[in-house]
């Protein structure tokens, strides 16, 4: 009996400890598991370990700090949609080829809820991620506020990274003088258009210098409301950025303003277009959950304002036959539309960055990796698959424009030149509070639960309450 009780008690204690250590992630257990890991990795990788050590020496000593005795440095990297977006693996493979002493493990958090999942992963202590990808500035702001990202300033100074090559976007995400991410992808907004639709109407294509009024007139001219054969002059995806952000192109406004009166005219324009059948109704797009790429691929949308990430989508899906080339194969791009009095080539920008977690045990190796990805070599890898790297220079732009499937006319190539790029959202510590407010009233205005003036007044009121 005694024995039985003892074994039961032991069992209970075991269970307790298993459950508790499972969720407790203090520094103590972390380091012990890290040391326990290393020999394990060593034995598995024992064959390639030796040549790896040799190569590392010849390889100009990249990631020099860690690979002392030929052990592989293991970096864990958070990303999204690995199966759809090819560059994650391309970048990791290329870097590992150049630095055989480094091993990169990519973990996919999916794209829908990426920022929330990432923030949850990094909350508290005990994360084993070294490098994280940041999808947008609001997510960056959240993580910086939580204090889970490592400031990069000392690394930047030490390796004298020239921030000027990022064309000023790093200034817009600098927090109290410190930078916590390096951008590696930088997208601009463009107007994608379907040449066949314009040809059918004998109309000129959109130009690279198109004011918002000209765009509205062109959209109205090209559209057709013949029943069953509708042609829509333009298309606005359900994101608030597709309409609200026309207002920040003048460089005087931003979504951190807390007064959004500048958005009213654009809402009025789009709602009038909806009423006149120039674009599809927001309520329908929402009910159908219609993706913008699906809308454009049907061949009855003349113009769509969208980020340059759509270039890769179009090229890949047309190449694979997913989209019917007879419907949308003849596409072109024009520079983003701009308000009157603002120089042509002013557009919106969105950056995707890489950051190092403050809990990483291998910060030097992680820094070397993100420096490489956001540098020239990483840019070349990105550009080879039609993605826009954060470093933009003529070579990179030329590489993208010469890709198979990229529109070959001069105007489309010239559309990639920008004069001013305003981030969709610059860094601000109230960004996480402001975004949902703008989203809610965007929804209400577009669902016609209130007029643009009423909706914007509510935006101003609610944003004004943020302390």
């Amino acid at each position: 009996m005694k024995k039985k009780f003892l074994s039961l008690a032991m069992g209970t204690v075991l269970l307790f400890s298993a459950v508790l250590t499972g969720c407790g992630g203090d520094a103590g257990t972390d380091s012990s598991s890290a040391t326990a890991d290393q020999p394990a990795v060593d034995t598995i990788e024992s064959t390639p370990a030796e040549p790896a050590g040799d190569n590392a020496e010849t390889d100009a000593g990249n990631a020099s700090d860690t690979a002392a005795d030929g052990e592989k440095v293991h970096l864990k990297w958070a990303a999204w949609d690995i199966s759809l977006i090819t560059y994650w693996n391309d970048l990791a493979d290329k870097y590992m080829e150049l630095n055989p002493n480094v091993e990169i493990e990519i973990v996919d958090f999916g794209s829908n809820d990426y920022s929330n999942v990432l923030a949850t992963e990094l909350s508290g202590s005990g994360t084993d991620f070294d490098v994280v990808s940041l999808k947008d500035v609001p997510s960056y702001a959240t993580l910086v506020g939580k204090g889970v990202l490592e400031p990069l300033d000392s690394y930047i100074t030490e390796d004298s990274v020239d921030l000027a090559q990022y064309a000023g976007v790093t200034d817009q995400v600098t927090v109290d003088g410190s930078l916590y991410e390096l951008p590696f992808r930088s997208d601009i907004w463009l107007v994608f258009y379907n040449k066949d639709v314009f040809d059918a109407k004998n109309l000129e294509y959109p130009t690279n210098d198109m004011t918002i009024e000209e765009y509205d007139a062109l959209a109205r001219a090209v559209s057709d409301d013949a029943f069953g054969e509708e042609v829509y002059g333009c298309h606005y995806h359900t994101w608030s950025s597709t309409i609200q952000l026309f207002g920040i192109l003048d460089g005087k406004h931003s979504i951190l303003d807390k007064n959004y009166d500048f958005m009213i005219p654009y809402y009025e324009m789009v709602l009038a277009q909806e009423d006149d059948g120039i674009c599809q109704k927001y309520t329908d797009l929402k009910t159908e959950s219609l993706h913008y790429s699906a809308a454009f691929s049907e061949g009855n949308v003349a113009m769509i304002n969208m980020g340059s990430w759509f270039v890769t989508t179009l090229i890949n899906n047309l190449a694979s036959g997913e989209y019917d080339a007879s419907l949308c194969g003849n596409w072109g791009i024009a520079a983003y539309l701009h308000p009157d009095g603002v120089p042509a080539g002013s557009t919106l920008g969105a950056i995707t960055g890489l950051a190092i977690t403050s809990e990483s045990q291998k910060k030097d190796a992680a820094w070397d990796f993100i420096k490489w990805v956001s540098g020239e070599e990483g840019a070349a890898v990105l550009a080879s698959s039609g993605n826009f790297p954060a470093i933009s220079n003529d070579d990179v732009t030329a590489a993208i424009a010469s890709m198979d499937g990229f529109p070959q006319d001069e105007a489309s190539r010239a559309a990639l030149k920008t004069t001013a790029v305003y981030l969709e959202a610059p860094y601000g510590d109230e960004l996480a509070e402001i975004s949902p407010i703008l989203g809610t009233y965007h929804e209400m205005i577009m669902q016609r639960e209130c007029t643009p003036a009423e909706g914007v007044a509510k935006m101003n009121e609610e944003a004004g309450k943020i302390q």
């Binding site: 459950v19 929330n116 204090g147 929402k286 669902q447």
Partner: protein, 305 residues
């Protein structure tokens, strides 16, 4: 005497041993429950009085979160919406489920088939079903609005927009009714079959008509079932999240579509106001507790009848 105390000591020991064995058996489940459910709930109670972003040290702010909540447009709207939804859903679902149960308790042909069919919505995937539902109620292409337009000649501009404005709560209610009536029908069927046939015979002898039999036999006999159904459904209604998010179309929800749990999720995991979200969760908890206690009290009053 001495022998007696000795015995009782042995019995005590045996008892204690028995208890220990019992504790050991519930330990695996209880430890899991404590670590993953009970402790977080207790912590949430504490967090409700703090300002916490999930990482930095929490700061005690007293009742500030609760005061702020009752001045927060989005919270108040989601509270009202959740109440409207619950008040609409519970009685309607009970009426329909009970009606179905009574119908399918009759000896009719194909009873089994009909019973199975009414459970289909309950067992089908909510994501697939909401997608279909959204197409059925599509403002311009959906069959419902097409019937209204063609058969009832509702002018095109007056066709209902089922997923916006005040109609969205009605959409939530109709959807939940359709989705869960089969489940509650099964519960009511079980309740109906527990009613003794003698009671109906006796009421036949007394000359009761169909309504009187329902009013004075069926309904009182079903009271325990109704009690259970009301509590389970009310709790479920206050927790509405998936239906709302899927029908309203995700991410940006207008103030007329927002519900409490969606509000809590947004505060907690988008804005990382953990303390504020905890405070809202506590209010949700108190509401559910109050409703449940009220019903318990009512039930015990009737139980003495």
């Amino acid at each position: 005497m001495a022998k007696n105390t000795e015995l009782s000591a042995a019995a005590k020991k045996r008892n204690r041993r028995k208890n220990l064995v019992a504790y050991a058996f519930i330990a695996p489940n209880f430890i899991g429950f404590a670590v993953f459910t009970m402790i977080p709930i207790v912590v949430a109670f504490g967090m409700a009085f703090c300002n916490w972003d999930g990482n930095n040290a929490p700061q005690f702010t007293g009742l500030k979160n609760f005061i702020d909540l009752f001045q927060d447009t989005f919270f108040l709207n989601s509270l009202v919406n959740t109440f409207l939804y619950s008040i609409g859903t519970v009685p309607l679902t009970i009426a329909v489920a009970l009606g179905l149960a009574i119908l399918l308790n009759q000896k009719i042909r194909g009873r089994g088939v009909f019973r199975a069919i009414s459970c289909f919505p309950y067992v089908s995937s909510i994501i697939a079903v909401t997608t279909v539902w959204r197409m059925i109620f599509h403002s311009s292409k959906g069959p419902v609005n097409n019937i209204l337009y063609n058969a009832f000649h509702v002018p095109k501009d007056d066709l209902p927009q089922w997923f916006t404005g005040h109609l969205i709560i009605l959409s939530y209610i109709l959807f939940s009714l359709w989705k869960s009536m089969g489940y509650y029908m099964v519960i009511y069927l079980a309740g109906l079959q527990g009613i003794s046939g003698e009671l109906y015979e006796a009421s036949d002898l007394d000359g009761a008509n169909v309504w009187q039999k329902f009013r004075y036999v069926t309904w009182p006999q079903l009271r325990p079932t109704t009690f259970f159904v009301v509590i389970i459904m009310t709790i479920g209604c206050f927790k509405i999240y998936d239906t709302a998010v899927l029908l309203a179309g995700g991410s940006n929800m207008s103030t007329s579509a927002m519900v409490l749990v969606a509000f809590i999720y947004q505060e907690a995991f988008t804005k990382w106001n953990m303390g504020y979200a905890s405070a809202a969760a506590i209010i949700l908890f108190l509401i559910v507790l109050a409703v449940t206690l009220f019903q318990f009290k009512n039930e015990s009053k009737y139980a003495n009848d």
